[in-house]
Symmetry: C2
Subunit: 347 residues, 2 copies
DNA sequence: GTGAAAGCGCTAACAG
DNA sequence: CTGTTAGCGCTTTCAC
């Protein structure tokens, strides 16, 4: 601002419109010599204006740099056409799902409001802010909150829980079939010839109990019951690293490991590499989620895919259903085995 | 909804308030037998109501489950007290900064609106949506957009760019001192006794040119000019992996590597481990950012810290300054060397 | 095809 | 301390 550079040709500020306080719909109407509602019709691309008017108004609006006020618009319409998402800032898989929700929501003409959960920002805070913005429905990703809390919120606004198994009849639920997923993982490794297959679990994370149980059951069924080995893990790289370290102290270490998720598997991979184990030559490792982490070119992790797009679409569908008054229901998305390069037959 | 379970004791719906269409301020006023503004005063904790009234109104509002409509409130106040953030969903460091911005903004009484940038959601879209919500200022994290584009936006609303070096007088700029950061990194490794120090750069990413130049200059100054080795990298694990692979094909490979950021370093670490190189025994590796990635317990990466809290606070400060009409300026945050466990003297 | 009037939920200014 | 009046920027009737 040292010099008044660029006195732009279109000197709209002459109209009394200043930086920070942008032009309003009334300003555009006045400048175009029409009424406010007419401008509204044009901006919404609603029927009721001649092509000529439409073009002229649009041109003038553009010149003035008019941008409609989304808040005022949503306030006036009795529906906000807004879906709120509570997600974790540091969970790559959440990022994948959020991206897909943007897409799915847009297709249905809905906007999205984001509210982050992080160490210094807890779930109630995140959800509360979405309610204050009058979202018509909430999609919560992998929250740790008690089912009771979510139930209470669901009395006020439709809630869809994603990637979390819980018994909450008032909630829409979208989740992967955890039992099927772990079954596929074990079967994949067994079919390669592995027998000592260990599982680093997700501790008390959503879905962990199911996956643990399915791991045990499948091992039994395949006659590998004696090799069952479950280690307490978690959702992060650190948990995976800890679990892997522990597994390596076994008298007879496993030849294959199924981690709770991709982050956890990443930690396990890391420990393996540092210990001098070649993956997959000496040790096979599997993740879960098929997040961006698994697709990193150099990693190319074999994993169980919870298709983010499918989960997102299901979540948005459930949200819309509930908005339209239908009863909440549960959608179980089938996982898919994605074989990449961290598994092979035991050396 | 198979069964009409839980006909909750507090049957507020009798008041005509239904699911989805929550109670309004008028409803609360009527129920409490006071006027609407009085309720407003109570909810905002503004002066002008007796303690007794305050308590009664608050109790009734709670019973009815009243939550103020943030949109209506912001619309009425001529200031929205809203700061918009455009960030990348898959960049862990952005997550760190966003979390800290929430904190810093809250201290100044500001709310935060998030808008994600992702492969399927470009920067103009993200920024546009923030403008429609009438944010009073925008904070954009590491955007690739042309300075021109941001300049144009800045004519409309104050913009603060974080972690990106560009010449744009109309923008507030917050960035780490990239030259100082890379100088510290080289000096650290040199002081440990390393001579063959390579740099996997950030290609055309913001800050990359400065870091590259500083790497070269510092190497020269320390008499290591003949060992200068810059590889084109990037922001992701894949870029780091590629760079590391290439470095390992050198006739005489480096004993230490400085990656452009922590993600990039993670890819490099991974390749090193798979190749059987022990870090830091056989090879030292440094990251940049001190994101959560570097702090993962098992990784414990030596890195150059761009303190997320400091960056966030600076960004919010600049945003507030510009909102209050001050001219945009630049804040350069000094980086800090964080020595952890991926560097040691060469074996 | 266009304009006038009313109101979304809330807060700011004043009057009592 | 409390109530009335007005209006934020937009959309929705409903006349013309």
């Amino acid at each position: 601002m040292s010099r008044p550079d660029s006195d732009a040709p279109q000197d709209v500020t002459a109209k009394g419109v200043q930086r920070g306080r942008g032009p309003t719909m009334g300003d555009v109407a006045k400048a175009a010599g029409v009424s406010r509602p007419l401008v509204s019709i044009v901006m919404r691309e609603a029927p009721g204006a001649s092509i000529a008017t439409r073009e002229r108004v649009l041109r003038i609006a553009n010149e003035m740099g008019y941008v409609p006020d989304e808040r005022a618009r949503k306030l006036r319409q009795n529906s906000s056409r807004l879906i709120g998402i509570a997600f974790e800032l540091q969970q790559p898989f959440h990022g994948d799902v959020v991206e897909q929700i943007y897409l799915a929501a847009a297709e249905s003409g809905y906007d999205v409001a984001l509210s982050a959960v992080a160490p210094t920002r807890d779930e109630p805070t995140a959800v509360e802010s979405l309610i204050r913005e009058r979202c018509e429905a909430l999609i919560v990703l992998g929250m740790k909150a008690q089912a009771d809390d979510l139930q209470r919120i669901a009395e006020r606004v439709p809630v869809v829980s994603v990637a979390r198994r819980l018994k909450a009849p008032a909630l829409g639920i979208v989740r992967g079939d955890d039992k099927a997923g772990l079954r596929m993982a074990v079967e994949h490794l067994a079919s390669l010839g592995h027998q000592r297959i260990a599982h680093i679990d997700g501790a008390d994370a959503p879905g962990s109990a199911d996956r643990r149980a399915s791991y045990r059951k499948t091992m039994q069924r395949l006659g590998l019951g004696d090799n069952i080995d479950v280690i307490t893990g978690g959702l992060t790289e650190a948990d995976g690293a800890r679990g892997m370290s522990e597994l390596l102290t076994r008298p007879v270490p496993p030849t294959a490991v199924i981690a709770f998720n991709d982050r956890c598997a990443t930690g396990a991979l890391d420990v393996a590499a540092r210990t001098g184990l070649r993956v997959p030559a000496n040790l096979s490792i599997m993740g879960y989620d098929d997040s961006r982490l698994a697709r990193v070119p150099h990693v190319q992790m074999t994993t169980v895919s919870q298709d983010a797009r499918e989960l997102a679409r299901a979540a948005v569908d459930l949200a819309l259903e509930q908005i339209h008054g239908q009863a909440p229901r549960e959608i179980i998305v089938q996982p898919r085995l994605v074989v990449r390069e961290t598994t092979q037959r035991p050396g």
